[in-house]
């Protein structure tokens, strides 16, 4: 089963994302900040997608994205930003760093599901 890692400092948001994705054949793993998220992503090894907040304590979502893309072991993990931020400069920075998408909160569950299906390549066989 493909792994989707949700990194957000709000426990309720993580639960909300998990509930929205419940219909999908994926394993959802939660992390409470960027630091914990990076460790979780490395431990998972082959995450199909990371859904990541931007404004978080310890390590921000942008810093986490930068760290992942700088390491050959994690650079190919797709990262979708899920945040209240919508400033074009920030979106541009995330895109240049290698994020695969940007979704602004409050999110519509059906849009999140469709984005995850596409970005995690659900329907393709896991090697």
């Amino acid at each position: 089963m493909k792994k989707v890692i949700v990194v957000d400092d709000s426990r309720v948001v993580r639960q909300q994302v998990r509930a929205a994705l419940a219909e999908l054949p994926i394993e959802v793993i939660e992390a409470a900040d960027g630091q914990e998220g990076e460790a979780t992503i490395r431990a998972a090894g082959n995450a199909a997608l990371v859904i990541c907040d931007v404004n978080m304590p310890l390590v921000s979502g942008i810093m986490l994205l930068r760290n992942l893309k700088a390491d050959p072991a994690t650079k190919d993990v797709p990262v979708l930003m899920l945040t209240t931020e919508g400033h074009p400069d920030l979106v541009r920075e995330a895109r240049q760093l290698g994020a695969v998408g940007w979704l602004v909160k409050p999110f519509k569950p059906n849009l999140l599901v469709e984005a995850v299906k596409k970005l995690a390549k659900l329907g393709e066989v896991t090697p």
Partner: protein, 181 residues
């Protein structure tokens, strides 16, 4: 910083952005909030403060309310907590973050471009805020169908004269929008 005066048009622009953001965010979770005039200082059970800054602005967004309001705006996808004040405070922090984020998405293109910190939460009984002392000192009150109040305070000081621009820049992603690269 020496306090500067803001025009009535700019103050009205800040008020409109905060009111729209508050009503829309809580409305998206099923709670209808009505803006009201309320000059008193009610007791609060929850307070969330988000600091913000830029080269020319320093300030804070503060939202206060009751646990009843937060539970009334609980995401329908997950079960309402029965005992955990921590979970209620967590969600109030996220709602504050979303309200301020939405207000910023309106104000940033009009020249109010600030970076925000992470939310700081306080919960307890009979919480009151201190006296306002800033150039931008907005207090906006809302009432829920239960009669409970929610209040948003927006405070800031400016290093140089500031007015919201009339024509916003383009290119900002709005709430609920998704962009796949």
């Amino acid at each position: 910083m020496k306090p500067l005066t803001l025009s009535p048009e700019t103050l009205a622009g800040f008020d409109a952005a905060v009111v729209e953001a508050t009503v829309q965010v809580f409305g998206s979770y099923g709670l209808v909030l009505e803006p009201i005039d309320h000059s008193g200082e009610p007791d609060h059970e929850l307070a969330c403060c988000i600091g913000f800054t830029s080269a020319d602005v320093q300030g804070a967004f503060l939202m206060t309310s009751t646990k009843t309001v937060v539970v009334s705006a609980w995401p329908e996808e997950i079960a309402v907590p029965t005992a955990s004040d921590v979970n209620i405070a967590d969600w109030f922090g996220e709602l504050s973050n979303q309200v301020f984020g939405r207000a910023r998405s309106t104000l940033n293109p009009r020249g109010f471009a600030v970076s925000q910190g992470t939310p700081a939460l306080i919960y307890g009984i009979s919480l009151r805020r201190s006296r306002r002392q800033t150039t931008l000192a907005r207090e906006l009150s809302f009432v829920a169908p239960s009669g409970d109040l929610l209040r948003v305070y927006l405070d800031a000081v400016f290093a140089k004269p500031f007015e919201l621009s009339a024509t916003p820049d383009e290119g900002h992603l709005g709430p609920g929008e998704v962009s796949l690269f």
